[in-house]
């Protein structure tokens, strides 16, 4: 399999934002209960940008640098093996140059600091990202203003930003579109919101698109993902 095939099988191809949103500065949100695969999907989204020769910043709150790096290495290995990618080693070395990981402690993280770091990076000519994934952002303790700040950052830097959030799924905590707490009040700030759910007694994970159109998807608002590679499963297309 070639690099191009990998790009096509990435679930992000199926996640268009709302029709009027600019692709390059959209915000996306991945929600799931703990342990389902939020980080995996974020890494997958980042890998997609990397495979398209774009630069990515991965912000990890509360996880160590080594662990985050491992996510990428493992994920890439699974994908490369699962899809029998040619020249995997070379591609790996090449794309990882375009990735930069910034880790924060839970207590030291805030939006202003992140913005400062990003500006530093661009100014020092270290990296000019077109995609940023933010893992471990605590939505329960964040106010709307911080998220609006991120939105501003996204359009100012021409950056698409993907967040992950842990959800609690009790029915009364949901918004009309089905976006669970703690994000139900801020869903309007995101162009795309997806929910990951494990399917019992089946070896795939459901990706439900709660917000944003599924323009190119042939299977509507529900995608089936392979739990190992987080690629779209062939059989459900």
């Amino acid at each position: 399999m070639k690099k191009q095939d990998l790009i096509e099988k990435n679930p992000i191809r199926h996640l268009k934002g709302e029709s009027d949103a600019k692709e390059s500065s959209r915000m996306g949100l991945v929600m799931a209960r703990p342990g389902v695969g939020k980080t995996a999907l974020l890494v997958q989204i980042a890998l997609d940008s990397l495979l398209n020769d774009k630069q990515v910043v991965h912000v990890s709150v509360g996880q160590s640098l080594d662990k985050t790096k491992l996510w990428y290495d493992d994920m890439f290995k699974d994908i490369a093996e699962g899809c029998k990618l040619d020249k995997a080693g070379e591609i790996h070395d090449a794309i990882m140059r375009n990735r930069m990981i910034i880790t924060f402690n839970e207590s030291t993280f805030n939006q202003a600091k992140l913005e400062e770091r990003l500006h530093d990076l661009v100014q020092q000519n270290v990296i000019k990202p077109s995609c940023m994934v933010v893992d471990g952002f605590d939505f329960a303790r964040t106010d709307r203003a911080a998220l609006e700040g991120m939105r501003g950052l996204a359009s100012a830097m021409d950056l698409q930003i993907w967040f992950s959030a842990v959800c609690n799924e009790s029915a009364d905590q949901q918004s009309a579109a089905g976006v669970p707490a703690p994000c139900k009040g801020v869903e309007d700030l995101f162009n795309t919101v997806v929910l990951l759910q494990p399917v019992s007694q089946s070896d795939c994970i459901d990706l439900r698109i709660l917000k944003g159109s599924a323009a190119v998807s042939k299977c509507g608002k529900l995608l089936k993902l392979d739990p190992m590679t987080f690629m779209i499963r062939e059989d459900c297309k």
């Binding site: 140059r97 930069m100 402690n105 993280f109 600091k113 000519n125």
Partner: protein, 692 residues
């Protein structure tokens, strides 16, 4: 014979400047091995006892790990003083191999720095149980709580304080022992009079809370303690047993504190070493059975079993060559004959001594688990000794990294020349990462090692200890060449004009080898190359590996296969086939798309967050790939992979960029292909050099 459960082999490991040598000095004082205290950078010109090398005294750092022995409360403690700089990693790793437990020293102000992370990783690799000691609590800005948090966050240790300091900085009066719930004071000029009293009222509340926390963490390791805690009656013995269990399982790191310089807390640390760190039988060590394909066999630790001892350090002291050994089983007796497993040579144990840095004490025998030194035994470090006979075991071979940097050295006169060879001979035996050879073209002596500082120290030692004055060339990076695709050759070597002729033809191909340096495959069928000349072909190929065609660097990762050839009844010879193989290799090498590889270092730079941008910029300029950054309060750690060739002089640059507030460590990571532009430069340079 000594009771083996009362032996502790411990290391003291830490960041430079966290006061390791001072602490060791105090330990020796309190255990009455020495009778006066000297400071590391002492005004009295005597210097601390453990830093026995002059150079270390001058720089205030510890380079070689001397083994020292002392007694504390009926227990025998062997202390290995380990170096703290990453360039001497092999010394640290070798010391860790023979230790059963370690004390991790941290500065209460500096906390966990990048160096401690490296050392901690090494300890985890060798499964060394450890206790932590937060030193320098008397310094301004001391904050043990911060350090404990860093132990948890940065090192991932389950750090549990078992003491509370009574006052910090200049106000420090003593410590409160949370196990016994007593306040401990250190009286007398040298803090050697210990006074135990009730906890002062103003600390009572804090101590109750801390003890509660400690019991919570510790009772995870003992059901008995858990029940006793619920009933409210945990005994001292129960708590100590549980801490010991957690520590030995590497699940818990008890944290102590104090200040060695101001003589506080050292005796309690010694108590903890005895109570919580393992004795030789508590840890599992493995030997390799050489008769059964190096299968791992657990050593018995029984003194009456056949001998198994590891030489882990050589030293050329003023009393002749000293070999430090650790026995893993059996007994080492004066007058016994022992066998060096590597060479198969027999040797007789002449003098057996227990070392105390520079002085020593003669002994007659050393039981299993002990660390002693031998005189007059010829061996390299890492050799295993056994009692001989059929007992063919070796202690695990230690992982030795390849050198990544080299320099040429030229002696200034004839006398220096002699001394230099003596010194080099000694150093290469002592340190497996330090290598030396003579460049056949320039006739210069080249030394190679793991980093700039590593080589610097040896050059200095040559001057001081051997009076060998040398001039040093610019450091050279150890580049390598390798091939990236398969290529065929079919080469005939023919010289049949006059005299005895030479004839040989070989055909085959070169191909990239994923792992390993070189492989020779013989696929000749039907005897087109006579059997006796096959090794000649192998030899010929190997000769080509020394100097690649691109820049004359060492060639690695090549598999040479021969499939056909021809010979002549009279004119074929060993040399003819060697030359044919060399010709074949050269023919195919150019077609096999050769590339240059360079050593890549994993660099961790750490400094105040405001400098993060400029540090990243500086690494970026040096062709570094920044892997990521990690923010901790006001500090940021930046991890990057940078080619070694770009790292020369970085410490100066980094200091001037950050007003001296940042530091970095680097470790060899991997070899990677150099970018095209750099490769071209290197090739041009190599060609110019050839022309000269």
């Amino acid at each position: 014979m000594r009771d083996i459960t009362k032996v502790r082999n411990i290391g003291i490991s830490a960041h430079i400047d966290s006061g390791k040598t001072t602490l060791t000095e105090r330990i020796l004082f309190y255990t009455q091995r020495i009778h006066a205290i000297h400071e590391v950078r002492g005004k009295d010109g005597v210097g601390a006892k453990m830093d026995s090398m002059e150079l270390e005294r001058e720089r205030g750092i510890t380079i070689c790990s001397a083994a020292t022995y002392c007694d504390w409360k009926d227990h025998a403690i062997n202390i290995i003083d380990t170096p703290g700089h990453v360039d001497f990693t092999i010394e640290v790793e070798r010391a860790l191999r023979v230790l059963d437990g370690a004390v991790l020293i941290l500065c209460s102000v500096g906390g966990v720095q990048s160096q401690s992370i490296t050392v901690n990783r090494q300890m985890t690799r060798y499964r060394v149980p450890r206790v932590a000691f937060i030193n320098k609590c008397d310094r301004t800005g001391a904050n043990p709580d911060k350090v404990i948090k860093q132990l948890r966050d940065k090192l991932g240790l389950n750090a549990v304080p078992i003491q509370v300091p009574m006052g910090l900085e200049g106000e420090m009066q003593g410590l409160i022992d949370l196990v016994r719930m007593k306040a401990v004071y250190f009286d007398g000029e040298n803090g050697d009079k210990i006074r135990v009293e009730e906890i002062p009222a103003k600390y009572k509340e804090e101590c109750d809370i801390r003890r509660e926390e400690m019991l919570d963490a510790v009772s995870m390791f003992s059901d008995e303690l858990m029940e006793a805690v619920l009933e409210g009656t945990p005994s001292e013995e129960m708590i100590m047993a549980a801490i010991r269990k957690g520590t030995l399982d590497l699940e818990l790191t008890p944290v102590m504190m104090g200040t060695a310089y101001k003589n506080k807390g050292v005796q309690l640390l010694l108590d903890a070493v005895v109570s919580y760190l393992p004795c030789p039988t508590d840890v599992e060590n493995f030997a390799l059975d050489l008769d059964h394909e190096e299968a791992e066999v657990k050593v018995s630790n029984i003194s009456s079993d056949p001998l198994l001892a590891l030489a882990f350090k050589l030293e050329d002291g003023r009393y002749g060559q000293l070999t430090y050994v650790r026995t893993y089983q059996g007994t080492l007796k004066k007058g016994d004959s022992i066998v060096n497993v590597r060479t198969g040579k027999k040797a007789k144990v002449g003098r057996l001594v227990r070392m105390h840095s520079d002085d020593m004490e003669e002994i007659d025998e050393a039981g299993s688990g002990d660390i002693v030194a031998l005189f007059g035994i010829d061996c390299a470090s890492g050799d295993t000794f056994t009692s001989g006979g059929d007992y063919n075991f070796s202690m695990t071979s230690m992982h030795v990294p390849e050198p990544v940097i080299s320099l040429s050295i030229t002696p200034v006169d004839n006398k220096a020349q002699d001394n230099m060879s003596k010194a080099l001979n000694r150093f290469t035996k002592e340190d497996p990462t330090f290598k030396t050879y003579v460049d056949t073209e320039t006739m210069e002596t080249i030394i190679s090692g793991m980093g700039e500082l590593h080589l610097d120290v040896y050059v200095e030692r040559m001057k001081r200890e051997y009076k060998a004055e040398v001039t040093v060339g610019a450091p050279q990076v150890a580049y390598r060449e390798t091939i990236t695709q398969r290529a065929e050759f079919n080469y005939t070597h023919k010289k049949q004009t006059g005299g005895s002729g030479q004839f040989g033809r070989v055909a085959g191909f070169l191909e990239p080898l994923e792992e390993g340096e070189y492989e020779f495959v013989d696929k000749i069928v039907g005897g087109s190359v006579p059997r006796e000349y096959i090794p000649s072909c192998d030899k010929g190929f190997q000769k080509c590996l020394d100097k690649g065609a691109l820049i004359g660097a060492h060639v690695t990762g090549v598999r040479c296969t021969i499939i056909d050839g021809a010979s002549h009844a009279v004119d074929s010879s060993d040399i003819a086939f060697q030359l044919a193989a060399i010709g074949g290799f050269k023919e195919a090498y150019g077609k096999a798309k050769p590339v240059i590889m360079e050593p890549i270092m994993k660099v961790a730079a750490e400094g105040p967050s405001e400098f993060q941008g400029s540090i990243m910029g500086s690494l970026n300029q040096r062709r570094g790939i920044i892997i990521g950054t990690n923010e901790e309060e006001a500090y940021t750690v930046i991890e990057a992979e940078v080619p070694l060739s770009e790292m020369f002089g970085y410490s100066t640059d980094l200091r001037s960029l950050t007003q001296g507030k940042a530091e970095f460590t680097m470790e060899f990571a991997t070899y990677r292909q150099v970018p095209k532009s750099v490769a071209e430069e290197l090739i041009v340079k190599a060609q110019k050099k050839d022309k000269k």
